[in-house]
Amino acid sequence: MTIQARFELHKEDFSLDVDLHIPARGVTALFGPSGCGKTTLLRAIAGLEHCPQGFLQIDGMCWQKEKLFVPPHQRSLGYVFQEASLFPHLNVRHNLEYGLKRVPVAERRVPLDRAIELLGISPLLARKPHKLSGGERQRVAIARALAVSPRLMLMDEPLAALDLARKQEIFPYLESLHRELDIPVIYVSHSPDEVARLADHLVLMEAGGISASGPITDMLTRLDLPLSQGGDAETLIEATVSEHDEVYKLTYLDFPGGRFTVAYKDLPVGTKVRLRIIARDVSITLEHQSNTSILNIFPATVDKIVPAGSAQVTVRLLAGNVPILSRITRKSAALLDLTPGKAVYAQAKSVALLA
């Protein structure tokens, strides 16, 4: 159940040299600055970019090895480009059917109606692409890629060309794909927000190579990676809905380090959700504060401290073995005498429930 890819490509002004191992399930984000090779890697996986001597194996299927090169149209993949790239001479329905018609009936696992319903595009079927908004076009493009029942979905910054409102329009659909379809996705992005909301696995890319790769929750809290050093350092925590408080309209969520309290969310007990805590919103105390409005307080131990700029430090805390990042001033760290192994309390001022 893995995807393995080895590609080397040297052009005049750019070179790609990657050895990728990622799980063939869930969403893997390729994350990095523009020009780092994310799109080239994605195109190489699709076979749109030919890297001689490459190697590519998806869940046991070999698409490229030594002399073997399966051309793009024989690879069971769905590709969503940054611009929707709908065929302008076909209406929405015929765009959707273009790929579907070319897939043998026995291999069709995603019914067209299902793709249409998942992306909410049934009212658009008779329209021509130039009559659609940017967000609608991109939803049709995603449905079109899904309709070929791909074994692997490749998405190249599908939201980058859209404004914030259109992004918000598409996000719920992407999240429901993630939840409801068992198709591995490789998602190229340079937006930390998209990554936090969608990715299960994160591959960091830099200057044509892979600098780190691992489960998203680990990657965000690794102090040796640039993600934990920026101003928007954050922690993702997988938690389970455990109880609702009807009186105060609250929802309780359990994770190995304790119990979160968040504003009421209509989710059945047992639902797995993802919580996001910005490192700046996590403060540290030595004793359990009872005279405070903050509800989310967890006992933790200090794991590691690294400087973040000249005035601040990033502290990696472990609450029941779950890492949580806290960004505090260097002065506070000194006053509290924080050292690895010290027992403290982590107070999260705000917690965002992502899905």
């Binding site: 749109l48 149209h73 024989q74 590709y79 480009f81 790239s85 001479h89 070319r102 130039h130 079109r144």
Partner: protein
């Protein structure tokens, strides 16, 4: 005033010549234009210059070399004779060959431009949607280049109708065989039959104008739809 028998024969020869030439150019020119639009071969410009040559060459020059080539001592003429046929000069076949060269840029260039304007993205999308290269060509490239096909067809046809110098050099003026309208007009003027010349000239003027109106009107609609 009406068309005499020779004029009607000239009209048919002209339409047959223009139709056949356009058909041959579309069949041969489409793959060539596709290749020119997509190829990254570094010496491609040589071929492009060669195809554009009839645009600037005096038709008599083109006609002269074609006459040499198609005549009994030329390579194509002697080949035809070796196969038991006539020398190709002063035959309808010779005219078709000459017209294909003469009208070539008018068909190839619009097609090449239309194919190039599609870009590689729609074809890549089609590839990820399981379409083979040939499938992509017919289901994506051809429909998206349809305005180029219309322009190529009409320009190729109209330009062949208007040809004079090449026909005069290699076709001669055999009524019912190689006499085309433009030459019939010339003959009428020479014989001071201005009425006949007016009729044919006016007819050609109107026909050419109508065909161009069609091209521009339809292309305008395409571009509005595809923007």
């Amino acid at each position: 005033m009406s068309l005499d028998e020779a004029d009607i024969a000239a009209l048919f020869v002209t339409l047959k010549l223009a139709g056949l030439t356009t058909l041959i150019l579309l069949l041969l020119g489409t793959p060539l234009a596709w290749w020119l639009a997509r190829s990254k071969w570094r010496y491609k410009f040589l071929l492009e210059a060669l195809i554009a040559l009839p645009l600037v060459l005096p038709p008599t020059v083109l006609g002269f070399y074609l006459l040499i080539t198609l005549g009994p001592n030329g390579p194509l003429g002697s080949l035809s004779q070796a196969l038991g046929g006539p020398s190709l000069a002063f035959t309808f076949t010779g005219l078709v060959i000459g017209s294909v060269f003469y009208s070539m840029p008018f068909v190839i260039q619009p097609l090449q431009n239309a194919f190039a304007a599609i870009g590689s993205r729609p074809l890549e999308v089609a590839a990820t949607l399981r379409a083979s290269p040939l499938d992509r060509f017919f289901t994506i490239a051809v429909p998206l280049a349809r305005s180029g096909f219309l322009t190529a067809t009409v320009l190729g046809f109209a330009h062949t109708i208007g040809e004079f110098g090449v026909v005069l050099m290699i076709g001669g003026n055999i009524p019912g065989e190689t006499q085309v309208l433009s030459i019939a007009i010339y003959d009428h003027v020479e014989a001071l039959e201005y009425g006949q010349a007016h009729l044919l000239s006016g007819g050609l003027l109107l026909l050419s104008f109508l065909m161009l109106i069609l091209v521009y009107a339809v292309n305008r609609r395409f571009s509005l739809v595809q923007q």
